[in-house]
Symmetry: C2
Subunit: 389 residues, 2 copies
């Protein structure tokens, strides 16, 4: 087990009706609030009205910035930064899913910074101050509600990059599973793929003697696999929605990665796919993970056999661990298909013509490697895209 | 799943050599520090010298109060409160196990309070302010390094009572598994029983649809069961010590209880046993849990069958779930015995003569019930002590 630090300050308020506490919580941290959200769904389903009621009841002064799109864009982030400065905002309330929270985090980082906020995503600057933020979560998937991370896409060149800081970990996250009843099934499925992915990035590691966190990883993945189909069959299944929502947080708050070395190659490889084709991140991951697994499993066949056994109850064949390992990868593909996910780029009519370009972007023209379980260079990345065709 | 709040601010610094960071961390929170510890073991094994070096290097002004005994006493707590007030201490650094941390928490609660600190343990007052504290953990077991709870024994009448507050959750916990190499095997075993107990108090619940946390509970218990024997066989097995240490924290930081209803009857019943006989808390729990389980399992045989299956790999007999349930309880007893724990009061030559007295104390003369999975009155508590004879 590696040495580690673990630290997560986000106060979780989880369960039915909890969105009514938003005003009371916001008041602790902010005097002038930016209410940040996405499209019209929060208005359509009544959440917007409830939030406004709670803010008004607590006499909170706020301004609004809606319009965050999936794969959130730098343009709106810059708009938010300017607005916060002009209006002297001291707290950001993000109402939505990962895109809205990521956009809010980028604004929070940008407001006190004298340069271009993209510097943080380009690796040219380090976050030294940020506005505090809070979250009302409506889409469980990204885990952004308690994480340090944010992913933003720069319109020019469609460059999708991550950044982050402990300073942008939300102060609170209100999580009511009922708010996820109205999610389209496709989005529920994408969320399931994304949260399983967050665990896989930690589970597939070369660090030895990580027994407790192995078991925690498997627990989260199994719970998502058991409950996503229930939520898709019956959108209003509170218990399935609750299991998924809490799994999404634990998949990405750092806990299941304690003492291990994360990988993150697949996330990097997928980001170029969704940046160019503007597909859902979860759908992209459903194509990339099986391809990545097939490409890297020989680095530690035993670990992949354990994955097959502990996650999918596949008997371990002690005479042929590779067979077991491959059955596990196939079972993951079968699960993705069962919840309506694409598992090949061709399922979304994406051909191979941009593979070289994507591999170049993912590796900064071959100057950067990806991953840790198996360190990938530009040719490895191209090979993985090809396996996903 | 029940609604819940989850919030844990403790910064964990985990791994080899991490005690050298104590000065740097302490400096963030305190100008004048009380260094609080137990007996001579931290001096004997060199930890005391390392801590002093780190405090000196960071120019931290501190005073010392040692002498915390297992089942920490109110007398020393009051001494600590007086000392902190006199010396204008603003931060407490607890170096030790659960007893030292609990004593530190009680002092932290008492310093800014105008009345008798025992009021918090008697339910007569509510903690509204406390000094901040930090921890260097040397005995993994109590989980006190990230918990809200403290248990103190009042010498007069040997009354052992718990209290707590989010305000006494430590700011940081330094956890180096190497520091636990010198623990006597008996104490390692007691710790294992205690941390398994913290999970059982959450696992055995009547709340339905708590799948993720069921799996997390089982993960922690299994990890302790796999690794405690290794640490006892080879005291310097870093990986086993690390698994146990991290399990001890996750068993009691609130995570595995999210969305569930805790029980805590067994802890209450045990406290009277260790208060009167001054036995180790873990040893007391090893006697009480099997008795409690035998007394309550019929409330939900299915859950106990799941415990047998998921924790001990016992096949579920679908025609006789009760048989499976009882095998699970027996397996837990067998595990306790295998690590050298007593499982009956008679194993420590304790007879039944104080059963009525202990049951009266545990239930405040019958005025209070214990537990939630099965609500226990004074007669139930007597019956459980008898089953443990």
């Amino acid at each position: 087990m590696n040495n580690f630090n673990f630290d997560n300050r986000t106060k979780i308020i989880f369960g039915k009706g909890t969105e009514s506490e938003v005003g009371k919580l916001t008041k602790i941290y902010g005097k002038k609030v930016l209410l940040h959200f996405g499209g019209g769904s929060i208005k359509r389903f009544g959440l917007y009205a409830k939030i406004l009621k709670s803010l008004h009841e607590n006499n909170i002064d706020f301004i609004e910035l809606g319009g965050v799109a999936p794969n959130p864009r730098l343009g709106l982030v810059n708009e938010g930064i300017a607005l916060c400065r002009k209006e002297k905002v001291d707290f950001i309330l993000a109402v939505g899913g990962g895109s809205v929270i990521d956009s809010a985090k980028a604004i929070a980082m940008g407001v006190p910074y004298n340069g271009d906020v993209w510097d943080f995503f380009d690796g040219k600057a380090f976050v030294e101050a940020a506005l505090p933020l809070g979250v009302v979560l409506t889409i469980p998937a990204a885990g952004s509600e308690t994480s340090t991370a944010t992913v933003i896409t720069k319109e020019e060149g469609l460059i999708k990059r991550g950044s982050g800081s402990p300073l942008v970990v939300p102060m609170f996250a209100i999580m009511n599973p009922e708010l996820t009843y109205t999610l389209p099934n496709f989005q529920t499925a994408c969320g399931a793929v994304d949260m399983i992915g967050h665990v896989i990035e930690r589970y597939i590691t070369k660090v030895k003697n990580v027994e407790l966190t192995d078991r925690l990883c498997e627990s989260v993945i199994r719970t998502v696999i058991n409950n996503a189909p229930k939520a898709i069959t019956n959108n209003n299944d509170y218990n399935a929605r609750a299991e998924i929502m809490w799994s999404g947080t634990l998949a990405h708050n750092g806990l299941v990665g304690t003492g291990r070395q994360d990988d993150w190659a697949s996330h990097g490889i997928e980001h170029e796919l969704s940046a160019i084709y503007d597909i859902a991140h979860g759908a992209g991951l459903a194509m990339i993970y099986p391809a990545w697994m097939k490409y890297v499993y020989k680095e530690d066949v035993n670990r992949f056999a354990m994955f097959a056994n502990k996650v999918f109850n596949i008997d371990i064949n002690p005479f042929d661990l590779e067979e077991t390992a491959l059955k596990g990868i196939k079972a993951l593909e079968d699960f993705y298909v069962s919840i309506g996910m694409p598992i090949r780029m061709s399922d979304l009519d994406i051909d191979g013509k941009n593979i070289d370009l994507m591999a170049e972007k993912a590796t900064l023209n071959g100057k950067m490697t990806l991953g840790a379980f198996k360190v990938l260079d530009i040719n490895d990345v191209k090979a993985i895209y090809k396996l996903a065709l």
